[in-house]
């Protein structure tokens, strides 16, 4: 046998072991036929379909999409960005929950998070800027949908779902705003709550229900916390599922113009 250079030897070994691992019973039990991670995957039209069709991805994407729809300049990826930001916010938010108590300790917890937890500051910043960004991106997504006239039949109802999603996004952001329990948080939320109290007839009741009292206290903090980490995420996920499902059932992306 010819003498192999070190590089060739490495290539041979790594390729072989990779193949063996990918052909193992264990790996094939995870990756369904057509997955690029299975041994023997080759790029063919059929396999390209299988990558989507035979995987959990099929819940999100059809096998084929309109050619104009994949141009970045059509959707600007704004809907996808909204969804992705939501995922990032969920992950960073769960991480923040490890260090946060919605009580009198809230402010101290945030301070401790920023000063004595590894990456605490970074993750808090990501969660906060990400939330601002999500409000912006959802709004831009709505504008892009409007300018394309993409709310017209048969997509009318998906627009309605979208409006609900916009409001849920705002509520999520607003309830989160109070949680650091600093002067910025409490007074911004007080201003918001006062706006709600101008509702005709039962304005005072709305504010009382929102604040769990007449003004922002730690009872409000707990209420906003539960709404922020549990209630609104739960609701928004349901509406997102309907939203994505309707995008597909309404015949995929709209257009071309």
């Amino acid at each position: 046998m010819a003498k192999l250079t070190l590089k060739e030897r490495f290539k041979k070994v790594s390729a072989g072991s990779g193949d063996a691992a990918r052909a193992s019973k264990f790996a094939t039990s995870i990756f369904r036929p057509g997955s690029p991670f299975r041994k023997g995957y080759s790029d063919s039209p059929r396999n390209r379909s299988y990558v989507v069709m035979n995987n959990v991805l099929y819940h999100l994407h059809p096998v084929k999409v309109k050619r104009h729809g994949v141009r970045l300049s059509y959707t600007l990826c704004l809907g996808g960005m909204s969804f992705f930001l939501f995922i990032v916010l969920t992950i960073t938010g769960i991480w923040l929950m490890f260090y946060f108590r919605p009580t009198e300790m809230a402010y101290a917890d945030i301070q401790a998070l920023q000063t004595s937890v590894a990456f605490g500051s970074l993750v808090r910043n990501m969660h906060r800027w990400g939330a601002h960004l999500m409000v912006l991106v959802v709004f831009l997504h709505m504008s892009r949908v409007f300018y394309h006239g993409a709310y017209k039949a048969p997509r009318e109802f998906n627009w309605v779902i979208g409006v609900i999603l916009l409001f849920l996004t705002l509520f999520l952001s607003f309830t989160g705003y109070l949680l650091p329990w600093d002067q910025l948080a409490i007074w911004a939320v007080t201003v918001g709550g006062n706006m709600a109290s101008y509702t005709p007839v039962f304005g005072a009741q709305i504010k009382f229900g929102l604040f769990a009292g007449l003004e922002a206290t730690t009872a409000t903090l707990l209420r906003f916390y539960v709404l922020h980490v549990l209630f609104f995420p739960f609701i928004i996920v349901i509406f997102m599922a309907i939203h994505f499902w309707r995008v597909r059932k309404d015949g995929g992306i709209s257009g071309p113009l």
């Binding site: 039209p45 390209r48 379909s49 990558v51 989507v52 994407h61 096998v63 309109k66 050619r67 994949v70 970045l72 990826c77 996808g80 960005m81 992705f84 930001l85 402010y107 301070q111 920023q114 500051s121 808090r124 910043n125 990501m126 906060r128 800027w129 990400g130 601002h132 504008s143 409007f146 394309h148 006239g149 709310y151 017209k152 039949a153 997509r155 627009w159 309605v160 916009l166 409001f167 952001s173 607003f174 329990w181 600093d182 002067q183 910025l184 409490i186 007074w187 911004a188 007080t190 201003v191 918001g192 706006m195 709600a196 101008y198 509702t199 005709p200 304005g203 003004e215 922002a216 113009l257």
Partner: protein, 294 residues
């Protein structure tokens, strides 16, 4: 060509063999392109026949193909009904005889056993309908130009996600989120500002009656009005040049909301008085680190 799995091929070959009355091997060979396809005479299955007098029923002019022997054109007396049947004999299909095409008249043949159903009963049959061979499924939609989701959609998606993630991490590494003194209900900051996405509203509140600006705008215009857009705008066009009015309205909305928000964020100071950010500074704490950025 895409390689079709053997078992699927076999299954469709069986179906084809059954439909055409040929052998499975023959069908398989045809599907693989190893032998010429069997051609089938596609005349209607129902023809009109006058009874009871025995007649010489004329079968519709047989289509002559090189490979298939045409059905017998004439039936003799005993047969009350003439059913032109597709020639199914595999032997004939297998023997291509191009010369046959030129043969003027197919041989007469008796087919009593094929039509011999209750010949003693004198029935009158009428033509009810002619069933034409048609596909049972109709393609309702027009073909669209489509591409595979993988990789043509998922790769750009993945790249945008990575770009967004990089942007967010970079932003978070550079800009510190604000954290002021601990909440104190007894010290009201001046001005007290809502989060930026409500600042347009707060600005509007300072002009109009709070019941209008605080409730009517967000609830009636925001929630109900926006949700109703698709049901109000009945114009079916989505070409921008054919929906100028809608685009104008939305652009007005964007400009108005944007202006109010910018005023609320940058141009309002203590007592909600007008301030210039470059002269008096900015009263908006979410921007603290942006302002004092070294």
């Amino acid at each position: 060509m895409v390689d079709i799995p053997e078992h699927l091929l076999l299954r469709s070959a069986e179906a084809r063999a059954k439909a055409l009355g040929i052998t499975v091997e023959q069908a398989l060979a045809e599907m693989k392109g190893e032998s010429a396809p069997t051609v089938v005479d596609d005349k209607p299955e129902v023809i009109e026949v006058d009874l009871p007098t025995p007649v010489e029923a004329e079968a519709p002019a047989p289509v002559e193909t090189p490979k298939v022997e045409a059905a017998p054109a004439k039936a003799e007396a005993p047969a009350p009904v003439e059913t032109p049947k597709v020639e199914e004999a595999p032997a004939k299909a297998e023997a291509p005889a191009p010369a046959k095409a030129a043969t003027p008249a197919p041989p007469k043949a008796d087919t009593p056993e094929e039509v011999d159903f209750a010949p003693e009963v004198k029935v009158t049959q009428r033509l009810l309908t002619v069933v034409k061979a048609k596909p049972i499924q109709k393609a309702a939609s027009e073909p669209v130009d489509k591409v595979n989701t993988w990789p043509h959609l998922m790769l750009p998606e993945f790249i945008s996600l990575m770009a967004m993630m990089a942007f967010l991490i970079l932003l978070s590494a550079i800009l510190q989120a604000p954290l002021l003194e601990e909440a104190n209900p007894n010290i009201t900051p001046n001005p007290a500002k809502a989060p930026w996405y409500f600042l347009g509203l707060q600005e509007a509140l300072s002009y109009w009656d709070p019941q209008i600006a605080g409730v009517m705008i967000p609830l009636v215009i925001g929630l109900i009005g926006f949700a109703a857009i698709p049901y109000i705008d009945r114009n079916k066009e989505n070409n921008p040049s054919k929906r100028k009015y809608a685009i104008m309205m939305y652009t007005f909305f964007l400009a108005g909301a944007g202006t109010l928000t910018i005023i609320g964020v940058l141009f309002r100071g203590p007592g909600w008085n007008w301030t210039y950010p470059w002269i008096d500074g900015i009263w908006f704490d979410d921007l603290l680190d942006w302002i004092y950025f070294e």
